[in-house]
Point group: C2
C-alpha cells in the first residue's frame, strides 16, 4: 500500500531539505507559529518529546548531585553590564521591558537571554566559606534572544532550555565539572536520542561571551550540515571577580570561586528530525518517543477485533508506551499518520491474525513487517524497540562517517566545501586570521577542536605554518 495515498505528501528531502524540515514540523504537529514574530508554539506532540528529554536529563543532573532552582526572568541593565565580554556578546539580542503597569521603569529590564548574571549575584550572597562549595545548580526555563531570521527549534526568539550554573573552590574542580557535563550531554545524545556526536573545544572566536573555554558536542544532520547540540563553559574566576564571589578557605584566606555553565535546548528536537527523519515524516528513537507502539485494528467492525486489539494494548503497556487507534478512519490513513509522527512500531491485528494467534509488527525505521506469535508479543516488542534504538544510531553514525572528509591544502578544503556537504577535518595554526579566511573564502566555520585528534598534516590548511590542532570545519545550522 502506498504511504502517500491518504495524506498530502511532504516535500522530498533530497529535493528541498529545508522545506522537508518545515513540512515535518507542521504535519507531525510538533509546533505552530504564533502571532509573535519568531516565537513558536510547542504543540502537545512536540512538548511531549521535550518532556521526555527533560525527564532523562533531569535524572542525569540529579544523579550528578545538581539541584534545581528558579531565577527571575528579568535582568536589570546594570547587573547585565557587570561582566564586559558577556554584555557585549548578548547586547544585540536583548528584549527590553521598559514599562510596568502604567509607568516607565527607572531602569530597563532585559528578558533573560541566559542567567549567568543572576546566578552570580545570588552566589555572591549565599557563598561564604568552603563549606558552601560546590554549588551545583540547574534551572529549566525559557530564554529570549532577539533573532532576525528564525526556524522552528533551530533558532527562535524564545526557546526552552536548561542552564546549569556551578561554583567551585578550585580551577581543577571547575574544569572537571565542565567536562563531566559535556559527557552527560554526549551520552544523552548518543544513548537516548541515538545521535552520534563529536566532543571538542570551541575556538576563541566561537566561545561563549565571558567564558575562558567553551566545550561543545557537534552532530551532523542528514543533509551534511552541522548542529551545535550542547555546550559547557568554564568561566574560570572571571565572573567571580566581576561579581565579587569569594569564599573563606580552610586557612581563613579569601578566594574567588571558579564557575561553569552548560545548556541544552529544544534545538535538539531539530536534530532528532534532521538526523532520523525520512520522506514519510519523523522517525523517533524509542527512548524519546512519547508513544512507542501504536496498535491498529484491521477490519475493526468484525466481531472481536477491537476487543483483541485492546487486549494487546493492555499487554504491551507493561513493556512500552502504547496507544490504540480505534477511530473510524481507514487503516491506511492511520498508517500514514503514525509514520508521519515517527512512532517506532505499529502493531496490526485483524480477523486473520486472530485466527492464527499472531500480530503484524511494522518497524517505522525499516518498514520491515514481522509476524509475531501472540505468545511472545511482549518479548518481541521489547527486542524490536531495542533494535530500532541501536540501528538508528548506527545509521546516523554511518551517514556521518560517509560525510566526513579530510583536507590537507586550502584548495582541497575549498573544493570539498563546494562539492560536498559534511564535516571536513583539517589542521589549523590557531590563528584567528586563518579561521576568518576559511570562513570568508571557503564558507566554513570551525565546529570544534575535537578531543580525539588526528595528525592529518604538519601544517595549517590555510597559512602553511605549523599546525597546532585538528579542527572539524563545516556549515552549520
Amino acid at each position: 500500500m502506498s504511504t502517500k495515498k491518504f495524506v498530502e505528501a511532504i516535500t522530498d528531502m533530497d529535493v528541498d531539505f529545508s522545506q522537508w524540515y518545515t513540512d515535518i514540523v507542521k504535519k507531525a504537529e510538533l509546533v505552530d507559529y504564533s502571532s509573535v514574530k519568531g516565537c513558536m508554539i510547542l504543540r502537545p506532540y512536540g512538548y511531549a518529546i521535550w518532556e521526555n528529554i527533560q525527564k532523562e536529563l533531569d535524572t542525569q543532573f540529579k544523579q550528578t548531585d545538581h539541584e534545581n532552582v528558579y531565577m527571575p526572568m528579568f535582568i536589570p541593565k546594570s547587573l547585565l553590564q557587570k561582566e564586559a565580554d558577556h554584555v557585549e556578546g548578548f547586547a544585540p539580542e536583548l528584549a527590553w521591558v521598559t514599562h510596568g503597569g502604567h509607568d516607565e521603569l527607572a531602569e530597563p529590564l532585559a528578558v533573560r537571554p541566559t542567567s549567568e548574571t543572576l546566578f552570580c549575584e545570588h552566589y555572591s550572597k549565599v557563598i561564604e566559606s568552603y563549606n558552601d562549595l560546590p554549588k551545583l545548580y540547574n534551572q529549566w526555563c525559557s530564554v529570549v534572544r532577539w533573532e532576525k531570521t528564525t526556524r522552528p527549534f533551530l533558532r527562535t526568539t524564545e526557546f526552552l532550555w536548561q542552564e546549569g550554573h556551578t561554583a567551585h573552590a578550585t580551577a581543577e574542580e571547575a574544569q572537571e565539572e565542565t567536562i563531566q557535563m559535556l559527557n552527560v550531554y554526549a551520552d544523552f545524545l548518543e544513548n537516548f536520542l541515538a545521535i552520534p556526536v563529536i566532543k571538542g573545544q570551541k575556538t576563541e572566536k566561537e566561545k561563549f561571551a565571558g567564558a575562558k573555554a567553551t566545550y561543545t558536542i557537534e552532530s551532523l544532520m542528514h543533509d551534511g550540515k552541522a548542529l551545535q547540540s550542547g555546550t559547557s563553559h568554564n568561566f574560570g574566576d572571571g565572573f567571580a571577580k566581576a561579581f565579587n564571589i569569594q569564599y573563606t578557605d580552610k586557612n581563613s584566606k579569601r578566594q574567588y570561586v571558579h564557575q561553569t555553565s552548560w545548556g541544552m535546548t529544544t534545538r535538539v528536537i531539530g536534530a532528532l528530525i534532521m538526523v532520523h527523519g525520512d520522506n514519510s515524516g519523523l522517525v523517533l528513537p524509542p527512548k524519546v518517543a512519547p508513544t512507542q507502539v501504536m496498535v491498529i485494528p484491521i477490519a475493526q467492525h468484525k466481531d472481536g477485533v477491537i476487543e483483541k486489539a485492546k487486549e494487546l494494548q493492555k499487554r504491551i503497556s507493561k513493556v512500552a508506551r502504547v496507544k490504540i487507534d480505534i477511530s473510524d478512519k481507514m487503516p491506511g490513513w492511520k498508517f500514514n499518520e503514525y509514520e508521519m509522527k515517527g512512532i517506532p512500531v505499529r502493531v496490526e491485528i485483524g480477523p486473520k491474525d486472530i485466527e492464527k494467534n499472531q500480530a503484524v509488527i511494522v518497524r517505522r525505521d525499516t518498514r520491515e513487517k514481522i509476524f509475531v506469535s501472540l505468545d511472545s508479543l511482549e518479548e518481541t516488542i521489547t527486542t524490536i524497540l531495542e533494535e530500532i534504538q541501536q540501528s538508528l544510531y548506527e545509521k546516523a553514525l554511518k551517514n556521518r562517517t560517509e560525510k566526513t572528509y579530510k583536507a590537507s591544502t586550502f584548495n582541497e578544503l575549498k573544493q570539498l566545501s563546494d562539492d560536498k556537504q559534511g564535516f571536513i577535518k583539517a589542521m589549523w595554526c590557531k590563528d584567528l586570521a586563518c579561521e576568518e579566511k576559511i570562513k570568508e573564502e571557503a564558507g566554513l566555520t570551525s565546529r570544534c577542536m575535537p578531543f580525539e585528534q588526528e595528525q592529518i598534516a604538519e601544517e595549517c590548511v590555510c597559512c602553511g605554518k605549523k599546525a597546532e590542532t585538528m579542527v572539524y570545519w563545516g556549515k552549520a545550522y
Copy 2:
C-alpha cells in the same frame, strides 16, 4: 533540649505572624530576594517543594486526559485587546517589552500575565470540526503581573504556575470540566498538602476578567486570614466569539466552542507555610516533603555509629525519601536545622541505641519521641508518615472550624470582623452594593458562595432584603 539553643530564633507567630512568615521563608532557605523588585529566587529547597507539587498535579492532569503545551511568553498588544473585559482587568498589571535588539518594536509586547489570548488564537487555527474537540491543554510556565507590594509566594511580580485552557463542543461539557478541575485542586490540597478547603463560586465582583463564572478553593491560614488557593473559570463562548473559534458540528453547522481555564501557583507554598508551620519553622506534610526522613547519628565518632546510620538510611530509602547528615556539626544544630526545614521525621541512632537494637524516631509535628525496634523500622516509619499526613490535615481542619463564625446581622458581622480573625458565614442578597458596603464598613471581602450552603438567616446580612446565598466572608492574603 531547647530547640533555640543553636540557631537564631525566629519571630514568635503569635507576636508578629507576618514577620514569622518572612523569617521561615528565609531561614528554611525557600527563597532569596533578587535585584529585580518583586521577583523572588526559588532556592533548591523551595523549588524541590514546587517540583513535588508539579509532579503530583501533572499526574492528575494527565489522568484526566490533559496534554501539556508551551505558548510564547509575549502577547502582542492587539491580541490582548480582543476580549474587552479581559484586557481591562489585566491592563494595570502588565510589563511591556518595547525594544528588541537595538530597535523599537512596531507593536509593544506584553509579558504574559496569563495566556487566554494565545490559547484562543491557537484554537481558532487548529479547531475545525467536532472531531477536534475537546481540546484539553495545560501549560507550566511563569507569568508576570506588575505588583506594587509583594511577599514571597503570596504575591510576586513573576510567579510560577500552571494554566489549563480547554475548548468544548457544548456549554455542559465546559461546565463539567470547570468543576472537574476545581475538584482536582481541592483533592490535591486536602490529600497531598493536608490543607482543608471550601469549594465555591466567586461573586460577580471577584470573578476572573472575561469569565462567565469563577470557582475557587479557599483555605484558612493559621492566623485566620483566607487564601484563595486555586481557581477554575467557565468562559462560556465569550472568548470564542471574540477570537472566532468555531467548529463544524455533526449536522455541518458552525458553532462556537465553550471554554474554561484554571490555574494553581507557587502561592500554595505560602499556604503550606501558614497552615502547618510553627515557632520552630516549617512543618511539611510527608507527601510534599522533598526529604521525609533525616537520619542523624549520635556520638558519631564512636565505632560503628556512622556505619549503622548509613545502614538505616539504606533500609528507609525503600519506603521513604531519606537523607543522612554525617557532617561534623553538633546533633543539636542538626535537630534545629531540620526542624526549621519541616522534615516530617528524624531518626536518631547512637551507641546505646545500637546496643538495644533500637532507634529514636522524632515526629516534627508533635515532637513525640518514639523508640522503635530496628526489626520493625520500615513498617513503623511508613505508619508514622501516614499518621503525620492525616494528623496535619485534622489539625488544620480543627483550626478552621474554630475560626469559622456566623453572623445574622450587620452589627454581628462588624463585631466579628473587629474581634476575631477567620471565616464569617453570612447571608447575602447578591447585590453589589451590599458586597461593597461589607468591604468598606466591615473590612471583609467575599471569599466564595460555597457549594455547601446553610440557611443562617432569611435576610441579607447587610440590607435585610431576601437572601439569595450564604457567603464565606473574610480578610484575605
